[in-house]
């Protein structure tokens, strides 16, 4: 490690930007929120990356669930979503999701999205796991990319001011305790203060806290951490979806998403003995069972010695016509070819990978969080998907709740509370502290990711979780060191990762049962999802616990 002379100048605010609505995050939910909010006033959107290149929407492959056919119904979609979510979903949020997903799909089509269509000119749909009707709309296996390109086209037609490669590091609250804006760092490490009447948090997920993850480099959980520090309450943070099928090799590409569309199109899961092992775990739905079930099945096969030498199982599409693979799964074909595997001729090797955080900020159906002035939508919000998200429901979530957050933030009144400059100084002092730090954020990041994977992964128990929590707290206390102002952001990011990881572990300790994606090998209470007495776990600066609910016997 080369040592650098840390700059000695104190950090200060270089620029102040005012907006009616500040949108933080430029994925599917953030852009949809900005589009909607722009109908009500000035909107500023702050994007950590170049818009369209960050976040998970761009990477989302499989599809968007929406009820579009007479033979399907929103009631069935709702039931599938609740059942898939192990009945932990907030029913009002799930209801909004399934009711409005078709309208939001219509918006996308009207704005120019190039979804696959059928012979009779309807948006094409394919089957996805845990659903009784093939209701997953798609654009090949680049569905999210199609959506984000369309949304950015639409955003361009509004007056939204876009700040790209500017990263929010903390919220600022006014004298009334309302979120009054945010402090951000630009590419060079200069400080920008965004002031707003209402703020929409749409920073997406954070499974980069795990060693093996499908998330982009931007999926570091910043939104969970910033909102937590600002006093917001989060729910169900233990609910981390491990996608069953992530790439296994080469080492640096492990965890890369292998879309559920592969199974939707007929892909078979086989263990090293070439057995279609899903028959032992879910003989009815087989490969198209819910993600929690398939991920645990694969992990179990590997743990019990029936995995491949690289620690995965086979996902095989070689029985499908080459043209089907080329037309429906072009991204998969291209990615595997880059690593020397032709999926038309040989099976893929896959294993579970941390994919999506179902938990997040507690929101109302109007996307209001527990602190005034702050709205949340997309993956950073909790409650929509319960204990396990159905494939195809996340893209729908971004649009339904992005639109809602934008609308209600847009309708928020002008904020009048005074902002104490000391609040801003706190943030700049925190940034200054990184110039006097001692430890490389890179080392902390690596340690954190391994800790989370090994001790807070698919299979959990209280002793491991306690060990993990202790270690994560120790990491969070390390004095991180920035080599230059441009490196301040990496310190902020690693700080956020530590906070997000601790929220996951704390909630995992709070839930004593097995539910959806959360598996406690030491659970001493056997509960059935539909009748479990437990509801959301919750965590904030001031309280934590697990809610009980009355369930008819």
């Amino acid at each position: 490690m080369v040592l650098y002379n840390a700059p000695t100048n104190k950090m200060h605010v270089d620029e102040i930007v005012d907006a009616h609505v500040l949108v933080v995050g430029s994925g599917g939910a953030g852009v949809r929120a900005a589009i909607e909010a722009s109908r009500y006033g000035d909107v500023v959107m702050v994007s950590k990356t170049i818009a369209g290149k960050g976040g998970c929407t761009t990477m989302a492959e499989g599809g968007y669930n929406a009820v579009l056919r007479d033979r399907d119904s929103v009631d069935v979609h709702r039931e599938d979503t609740l059942k898939g979510g192990a009945y932990l979903n907030d029913p009002a949020l799930a209801d909004a999701l399934v009711r409005e997903a078709p309208e939001r799909m219509a918006d996308l089509v009207r704005w120019g999205a190039v979804f696959d269509v059928t012979e009779d000119r309807q948006v094409a749909q394919r089957p996805f796991g845990g659903q009784r009707f093939p209701r997953t709309c798609y654009a090949g296996d680049r569905t999210g990319h199609e959506m984000i390109m369309t949304l950015l086209d639409r955003l361009d037609a509004t007056d939204t001011h876009l700040y790209q490669e500017v990263s929010v590091v903390d919220f600022i609250k006014d004298e009334n305790g309302a979120v009054a804006g945010a402090i951000a760092l630009d590419r060079d490490g200069d400080v920008v203060f965004f002031r707003s009447d209402a703020t929409v948090l749409a920073t997406g997920g954070g499974t980069q806290v795990y060693d093996i993850s499908t998330n982009s480099a931007a999926g570091t959980g910043d939104g969970f951490a910033m909102a937590y520090r600002a006093g917001a309450e989060l729910i169900d943070m233990e609910m981390v979806q491990f996608h069953p099928t992530g790439a296994v090799y080469p080492y640096d590409a492990r965890g890369r998403l292998v879309t559920e569309a592969v199974r939707g199109e007929g892909g078979l899961l086989l263990n090293a003995r070439r057995e279609r092992f899903m028959k032992r775990y879910d003989p009815e739905r087989m490969e198209l069972s819910t993600r929690d079930v398939v991920a645990r099945a694969i992990a179990t096969e590997v743990l019990e010695g029936r995995g491949t030498s690289r620690g995965g199982v086979y996902l095989d599409v070689t029985h499908l016509p080459a043209e089907t693979i080329e037309a429906r799964l072009p991204v998969m074909l291209e990615q595997f070819l880059a690593y020397g595997v032709d999926i038309r001729r040989e099976p893929m090797e896959v294993a579970p990978t941390a994919h999506h955080i179902m938990g997040g900020l507690r929101i109302t159906p109007e996307c209001r969080t527990t602190i005034p002035g702050l709205f949340a939508c997309g993956e950073v919000a909790g409650g929509v998907h319960g204990a396990n998200r159905l494939g195809g429901n996340a893209l729908a979530d971004t649009q339904v709740f992005g639109k809602r957050a934008g609308e209600f933030a847009g309708k928020a009144p002008a904020r009048s509370g005074r902002i104490d400059p000391a609040r801003i100084d706190e943030v700049t002092r925190m940034l200054d502290g990184f110039f006097e730090g001692a430890i490389s954020p890179v080392d902390v990041r690596k340690d954190l990711k391994l800790t989370m994977w090994n001790q807070a992964g698919i299979f959990r128990n209280a002793p491991d979780l306690r060990t993990a929590l202790g270690h994560v707290r120790r990491l969070a206390d390390k004095r991180l060191c920035a080599a230059s102002t441009a490196n301040l952001l990496e310190c902020c990011t690693v700080r956020n990762m530590c906070t997000t990881a601790s929220l996951i572990v704390r909630c995992a300790l709070l839930r004593p049962e097995n539910r959806g994606a959360h598996v406690r090998l030491d659970a001493d209470v056997a509960t059935d999802p539909a009748t479990s007495p437990f509801s959301h776990t919750y965590v904030s600066l001031t309280r934590e616990g697990i809610e009980r609910r009355e369930v008819a016997a």
């Binding site: 170049i50 761009t58 269509v117 090799y249 998403l257 990615q335 890179v442």
Partner: protein
């Protein structure tokens, strides 16, 4: 784990006047990508190294850099020992980070009509091949036209065609496309070659936009003249001297035993403008035992029309040409013109096989010529290299024929895509760049196998430019002279 060394371009506008290279040795995992090598540099050597990345799986287009000169996605390209990593050829912000925003801002946004409805399946299917773009700007970095014109860039034109195909869009995409430089593209296909998504921008966007422009009467006047000439004479070149077809019989028998037989598709340039080169080629075929059948009823292949979007009577040309060769039972048709070859291979459906002269000669094997006492370099014709995937065969033949062969960097000479006639100042500027490369090699002769390149480069450099078959013939003549001298 393995150890690799890489050179990385570093530039900090606050302290550096210009970029410089730093060399780093890092440990990476087997199968590591360029991105992982950059992470290792940052983590082990210098945390201030600036570069972009995000999805890590070839989907977001953040991490494009040039590796050994070629634009690639750092997250997909395997890291190599000894590689050089540079930013894309765009304004550099810091180290490997370039300013993408001005180009992205030129990519048109859809303007949906208020009553926009879902397109039909065939409309969607037509758009999809142009929709995969992740705006990594590899194509913009690599495009030769951008070096000498204010061409907006391949992907910018791709988007115009994507929108032109969408019934929901209400914009005037042809006017936009022309403003953005529709006629600047030489159809060299360098953009397709570097595109991580293999989008065929020249064929699927540029030429199609030019077709729509043509239907609106917006084709460049010089291109219209060419089309009129083809329509009236069957040829894109005016007759100013006896043509090749007038000079040769229908069948040219070899000197010795017949080792093979090909039909010869002459093309307008060899027929009308540089017939001597084609006559030289016939001598080489005779010498190597290959019978050449030359149907005299062949016409222009249509390439100058396709490249410029003037396709209204293209099918007549195709029909005439296919019949001319099929009627004579010809199984293999040889081209010496890279443009004709690429057109017959890619734009025709032929009942016969089409092969470039260099493929024919290397497959049959040639009598070794005497080596000419020259230092020669080779210019890859775009329509041979990328249009037909041929790069090794001409080099193999050339190495046999000259004392010394030196490589020069591959780049379009500026003659193709109707640019030489339509935008002569661009063609000249690209030609001048070729001249610089030629001079840098110190070669006595530039060798190529495309009459357009040959003709154009000869206009742009004072170094002699020769067709490969002429070089071979000179080698045979030298061999004969040496034999005579010794006997």
């Amino acid at each position: 784990m393995k150890t690799i060394t890489l050179r990385v371009s570093r530039f900090d506008p606050a302290v550096d006047a210009e970029p410089h290279f730093e060399e780093y040795t890092v440990r990476v995992n087997e199968g590591a990508r360029v991105l992982h090598a950059l992470h290792a540099v940052r983590d082990e050597h210098d945390p201030t190294l600036a570069y972009r990345y995000c999805c890590g799986s070839g989907q977001c287009g953040s991490c494009a850099v040039r590796v050994d000169g070629k634009p690639v996605l750092a997250c997909m390209e395997e890291a190599r020992d000894g590689m050089t990593v540079e930013p894309l050829a765009l304004p550099v912000l810091k180290d490997l980070m370039v300013d993408l925003e001005p180009v992205i801002a030129k990519i048109a946004r859809i303007c949906p009509a208020p009553d926009a409805a879902l397109p039909a399946r065939e409309e969607i299917e037509a758009i999809k091949p142009l929709r995969d773009c992740i705006e990594c700007l590899c194509c913009v970095s690599a495009c030769p036209a951008l070096q000498v014109t204010d061409f907006a860039g391949p992907t910018v034109l791709r988007q115009e065609m994507r929108l032109a195909l969408d019934p929901r869009d209400s914009g005037d995409r042809i006017t936009d496309a022309i403003e953005k430089g529709l006629f600047y593209c030489t159809t060299c296909k360098r953009c397709t070659e570097v595109c991580p998504k293999d989008i065929e921008i020249p064929g699927k966007a540029i030429e199609k936009l030019r077709e729509i422009a043509n239907r609106r009467g917006l084709t460049l006047p010089r291109h219209q003249e060419v089309a009129r000439l083809v329509q009236e004479t069957g040829r894109s070149v005016e007759r100013t001297q006896p043509t090749f077809l007038e000079e040769v019989p229908e069948v040219i028998e070899p000197d010795g035993p017949v080792r093979g037989e090909v039909g010869f598709f002459v093309g307008c340039m060899f027929n009308g403008r540089v017939p001597q080169t084609a006559l030289d080629a016939m001598e080489v075929m005779k010498r190597n035992g290959i019978r050449v059948i030359v149907p005299h009823d062949q016409v222009c292949c249509g390439s100058p029309l396709i490249r410029t979007g003037q396709t209204s009577f293209l099918d007549d040309l195709k029909k005439k040409n296919i019949e001319a060769f099929a009627r004579r039972g010809i199984k293999t048709v040889m081209t010496i013109c890279a443009g004709c070859g690429a057109t017959l291979k890619n734009d025709y459906e032929t009942p016969f096989t089409v092969k470039d002269v260099t493929e024919i000669l290397t497959e049959y094997g040639i009598e070794p010529p005497a080596k000419l006492d020259i230092r020669a370099t080779y210019h890859d014709p775009c329509h041979l290299l990328r249009g037909q995937g041929i790069s090794e065969q001409p080099r193999t033949l050339l190495r046999e024929a000259v004392r010394e062969f030196v490589e020069m960097p591959t780049q379009c000479c500026g003659a193709g895509g109707g640019v030489r006639s339509g935008v002569p100042e661009e063609a000249k500027a690209l030609g001048a760049k070729r001249d610089e490369c030629v001079k840098a090699t110190g070669a006595d002769v530039v060798v190529t196998v495309c009459p357009f390149c040959e003709f154009h480069i000869a206009d742009c450099t004072d170094v002699p430019v020769k067709n490969l078959t002429t070089i071979l013939l000179e080698g045979y003549r030298k061999k004969d002279a040496e034999r005579e001298g010794s006997s």
